[in-house]
Amino acid sequence: MVEIRFHGRGGQGTVVASKILADAISKEGNYVQAYPEFGVERRGAPVFAFIRIDNKPIFDKSRIYTPNHVVVVDPTLVEVIDITEGLKDGGWIIVNSEKKPEELNFPNKYKVATINATEIAVKHKVGTRAAPIVNTAIVGAVVKVLKLAKIDSVLEAIREDVPVKPEENMAAAKDAHESIKA
């Protein structure tokens, strides 16, 4: 069983990201459980989303406290909160950032990968420069690094889940999938 925590801000579609990932994984016959933080979401305020993945049905309905990996949708959060809280040793930290992994100097018990999802989003015209929609690009990158699903499953999921600009979003996901280096 793999447990992942997403960090984002209200309005950035962090929950949607986890949902798309869940769909992609389910398409490949695995079991998933995804849930948002249980509370009130406000644009700009830090939010979480969680996902559990397994190859058999998942019965544990408790919250995730010690994720295997974390995904950071908004880089500025790194200063604001401790995104490594409860993160298992050896887990991946995947950050949306223009910086290189080493520049983020996280404790080296974690593996770090960065993806400039903002750049990619803007390039593919998903969202605006002021408010880029980065979640689809993130998912594209995450499945690559964590080997959770094939990119095609992700693209399919995006087509179903994203009503506005599905093509552009798929392109962004693909782009991120290819460009990220783990």
Binding site: V40, R42, R43
Partner: protein, 299 residues
């Protein structure tokens, strides 16, 4: 740094609402509260039913206001306030102004019976409805204050709200309570003036405040005040008072009555509307404006 003159403050300086609250960026409901408390002062007790404000204020054990609050059941703003007022008087506090502070859903829909009852008894409370035209706290569902044509999560674009906004002021006027006023956060001085006036009157007083919700209206946070002025200038939400249910007083008569188009265009909730509907809506606005003017004349 030059310093020729004093900073100009057109509304009371005292702040009874603190920073750190949980409202979204550019929240109109929050400004409504900030202004209202400036007018009411600290000897005020609020009954706040379920609404965005039950979140904005902050979770237990915190609050962002410097006045006491009873976070009461959704449908009980007025009845809780009536009880609170009676209770305070019986324990010897006759000064405190008891205010029911509710959203449009808590006022137009689930709370209207308690409100009607309090008004009929003419209980000594001020009832303030901040109107963001939908159930926002639960994620943008239609209320009977949602205007015709608007999208909400329960009035999807395929089947947008096809009923007009309920005329709450008309309903309250029929209760012939001593004082009713409409206000907009785009006109803070007018808003403060009216609530101060209400405070000096006995019996049931009703204030209807227009308070944009960028989140629920799919509008830009920085447009909140702009919308609150446009809505008065295009007479979608005129500013007026009603005394004893009969005497109508118009507070702002726009020099030139603006069309509603620009107003609707900057709100995502209206994006799906066609010319046809826009025209219909304009006609309805004009009709209601005419009716209001006739009321004013018939004083």
């Amino acid at each position: 740094m030059k310093k020729e003159k004093k900073m100009k403050l057109s509304i009371p300086e005292q702040e009874l609402m603190n920073s750190g609250h949980l409202a979204c960026q550019g929240c109109g409901a929050t400004l409504a509260m900030r202004y209202a408390l400036k007018a009411l002062g600290q000897k005020t007790a609020l009954c706040i039913p379920a609404c965005c404000w039950s979140v904005i204020d902050g979770p237990f054990p915190y609050s962002s206001l410097e006045v006491p609050i009873f976070h009461c059941a959704f449908e009980t703003a007025a009845s809780s306030a009536s009880g609170l007022k009676a209770g305070l008087e019986m324990v010897g506090d006759t000064e405190t102004t008891v205010v029911a502070w509710a959203g449009d859903g808590g006022t137009f829909d689930i709370g209207i019976q308690a409100l009607s009852g309090a008004a009929e008894r003419n209980d000594d409370i001020i009832y303030i409805c901040y109107d963001n035209e939908a159930y926002m706290n639960t994620g943008i569902q239609r209320s009977s204050a949602t205007p015709y044509g608007a999208w909400t999560t329960t009035t999807p674009v395929k089947h947008f709200k096809d009923r007009p906004k309920k005329d709450i002021v008309g309903i309250m006027a029929a209760h012939s309570i001593p004082y009713i006023a409409t206000a907009s956060i785009g006109y803070p001085e007018d808003l403060v003036k009216k609530i101060k006036k209400a405070k000096e009157i006995n019996g049931t007083r009703f204030i209807h405040i227009y308070a944009p919700c960028p989140t629920g209206w799919k509008a830009r946070p920085e447009d909140t005040i702009r919308l609150s002025r446009m809505v008065v200038q295009n007479t979608v939400f005129p500013l007026y008072e009603v005394e004893d249910g009969i005497k109508y007083i118009l507070n702002i008569k726009p020099r030139e009555k603006k069309p509603i188009d620009d107003y609707l265009r900057i709100q995502g909730r209206f994006r799906h509307l066609t010319e046809k509907e826009l025209n219909y809506m304009q006609q309805e606005v004009d009709k209601r404006w005419e009716k209001l003017l006739s009321h004013v004349e018939n004083n």
